[in-house]
């Protein structure tokens, strides 16, 4: 089992290639195994008696010994995943700084499970529970994902593909098999590991599907290194074509919709929208930007920093979601990014986007979604409840001030979905690399591109 031991936290959230391994406590193998066993036991117990015992424990005040790594939790129940997602509340002084938050909460507190939305993927702390033959690059990436150091579907997809390039270069086909048949079985546990760190994004799913198709199509007589180089090139081309170049085209198309004197509103942070705004500004267009943001991630702050950086900053206004109605009358266009686009034209994006879009619609402000075609999903989604992801508690704690935190009791649960779904009726146009299209025509795009799969 490869064990990352270097304590070297990556500096930036967007940094895909920070050297070394992310921060983690150095544990011995035995300790890790112990922890793993505990968690497994906890899961089993939870299944048998889901409510009673935990609710009772949830009422306990949080212990004040936070900050130390919980090597030996008192009871197995304390380490249930549900408790981590909802209940666990730490004394704040330990968590304000970014230490190793995921572990801290894990043993602290237990409350009952979510009464509603318990089907949302429960984030679990990973990192030290590595099963099977996982490549160090993937372990590192898993940690970055689970701690939201790499966030955003484009960044995550690029980071995953970049890690796969490394995995594939380090891979050797066993003597009895061929690369086209065996490589995917080698990649599967890596993917599983990443998914256990954070649920897979639609972009990652699409990229993996394309990659699988490419791998399975490799000629079995091809020399192994050639085959590996071929896949390497394929991944590079994929990133280039579907993400990097697509973004450039989107920048150009969306940029045409910004005119002098416009007031552009955007929500949270989208890498594409950021590029659009910056490139249009550098071309000398005069416009101002309203960045609307919301807890818990407050990603808009990052956007604000990059828009106002440099010698020639864009005039910006920063506001939280409740201020939206009073800002909208002066807005000319709303630009938002997307996590995924479904074939019914619904946009799956950062929680809060739907509200921005709906309110803009009532003010008849056009809502433009910037989205590459590789984010399209052939599924249909009608609401944001059937599938979603929760913001892990450790992340919430990292972004909020200690005094702002609400003490969790057995009667209170925290729910922080990461995404929501904007119905197609609230969207004016979707800017893709194949042009501006109305959301109702999303389903015809894959056909127009002559593709059977996305």
């Amino acid at each position: 089992m490869p064990v990352p031991t270097i304590a070297d936290p990556p500096a930036t959230s967007g940094g895909v290639k920070s050297p070394g391994q992310p921060a983690q406590k150095s544990m011995t193998k035995a300790e890790r195994r112990e922890l793993q066993e505990k968690q497994r036991a906890a899961k089993a117990v939870l299944k048998q008696q889901p409510q009673g015992k935990q609710a009772q424990q949830g009422g306990n005040p949080p212990s004040t010994t936070g900050g130390q790594k919980p090597k030996v939790p008192a009871t197995p129940q304390k380490k249930t995943f549900i408790a981590e997602a909802t209940g666990g509340k730490l004394p704040s002084k330990d968590t304000g700084a970014s230490g190793a938050p995921a572990e801290d909460i894990s043993s602290k507190q237990v409350s009952h499970g979510l009464r509603i939305f318990s089907h949302f993927g429960q984030p679990k702390p990973i990192g030290h529970t590595v099963k099977g033959d996982i490549h160090p690059a993937i372990i590192r990436l898993g940690l970055l994902f689970s701690e939201f150091k790499i966030c955003g579907s484009n960044a995550r997809c690029i980071a995953m593909l970049t890690a796969f390039k490394q995995v594939i270069q380090d891979y050797t086909t066993p003597s009895h098999s061929t690369i086209s048949r065996h490589l995917m079985t080698h990649l599967s546990p890596q993917i599983t590991h990443l998914v256990s760190a954070r649920p897979m994004s639609v972009t990652m799913g699409n990229a993996i599907r394309e990659l699988k198709l490419e791998i399975s199509g490799i000629d079995i007589d091809m020399i192994e290194q050639d085959a590996k180089n071929h896949i390497y090139d394929y991944i590079n081309t994929y990133i280039q074509d579907r993400i990097t170049t697509a973004d450039k085209v989107i920048q150009e198309l969306a940029g045409k919709k910004i005119k002098d004197g416009d007031v552009i509103l955007t929500y949270a942070r989208s890498s594409v929208v950021e590029k659009v705004l910056l490139s249009e500004h550098s071309e000398g267009k005069i416009f101002s930007v309203i960045v609307v943001d919301s807890k818990p991630l407050l990603e808009g702050k990052e956007l604000l920093k990059s828009l106002t950086a440099g010698p020639n900053p864009i005039p910006c206004t920063y506001a939280l979601l409740p201020a939206l109605p009073s800002l909208l009358p002066e807005v000319t266009t709303v630009f938002v990014g997307a996590h995924a686009l479904f074939s019914n034209g619904a946009v799956y994006s950062r929680a809060g986007t739907a509200m921005v879009a709906m309110m803009s619609k009532t003010h008849s402000v056009p809502v433009v979604v910037c989205c590459e075609t590789y984010k399209f999903s052939d599924g249909v989604m009608v609401d944001g409840f059937s599938k979603n992801e929760l913001v892990p508690l450790s992340i919430i704690q990292k972004y909020s001030k200690p005094q702002d935190q609400i003490q969790v009791s057995s009667h209170l649960e925290k729910l922080n979905p990461l995404y929501d779904l904007t119905p197609p009726t609230y969207i004016t146009a979707v800017v893709t690399e194949v042009g501006l299209i109305p959301p109702s025509s999303i389903s015809s795009i894959p056909l127009a591109l002559g593709k059977t799969s996305l």
């Binding site: 042009g435 501006l436 109305p438 109702s440 025509s441 015809s444 795009i445 056909l447 591109l449």
Partner: protein, 341 residues
Amino acid sequence: MPAFAIYSAFKRILANEEISTPLAAILALTELIENSDAGTMFELVKALNDGAHDLQKQASNPISLNAGCELFIAFVTLFPHDSANFADLKKELILQGQNYAAEALTYRKKIAELAFGFIKDGSVILTHSYSRVVMQTLLLAHKHKHISVFVTEARPRGLGIKTAEALTAAGVPSTVILDSAVAYVMDKVDFVLVGSEAVVESGGLVNAVGSNQIAIIARAANKPFYALAESYKFHRLFPLSQYDLPSHNSKILSFPRPLLAERASSTNLSARDSTASAHDLSTPTDEKPDLVPPKITQQQISENNPDVDYTRPDLISLVFSDVGSLTPEGVSQYLVGMFAG
């Protein structure tokens, strides 16, 4: 070779009553190929693009013209060239262009037949301005059914009067109504039928100014709003709002400089600077001539107003075109398929 004057050719072709703007643009571009000395495909496409650009610059309203140019240039670039030499290819392209234009003239008949099925006996129809395809549809309906037509005057060009005259001459009962009387008449109407300048990628409609408000009133009264558009009017454009149309410019809706008001206030100030007693006497006498309102001419009004407006797709019930009766979503899917492929 002297430069080919594409705009005059365009004007000449447009003089033909039957030929609409996009078709005239296509024919003008075929003439440009005829006159061009381009030796390669690249040169030819460049010449065409330049020609299209020239047309755009000179024409007052570039939207429907662009639709035609775009279609023809896309056709030329995608045309399979297996001809032995380039001169043959050019001949072939010219032939194809002319054939297309000839065929396109039959589209209106097709559309009229499609829309005919939606017109019931005894229908009262509201139409806007003048459109050849609407005229053809109404005349076809008149042959077989009883219809009566309200036509909006359609200022500033007043083309609605032309429609009403032509309909009356053909024996269709028709009345010209004011543009401002649309809401008044809407309850009497069975459906609205308009032509189009262009049908855009959102599934929306660009048409003579006033169409948007008719669509909004029709929606408020729950009356169907039908648009008629030949497929060469489908245009790869996505306006987000009225002001995002290529025809919009800073002159439209601009406020005139209030020269008189300024003068009035300056005299007011100087009066106040002088003695208070003089103020009472001077202000009424001095300012009176300035307060005479300036004359506003019809020409000034039309200069400050748009020619076309954009109707949102959700206000449109159906678009009849030669490729079928399409919902606005269908139009946008067709357009995405046509150009994204």
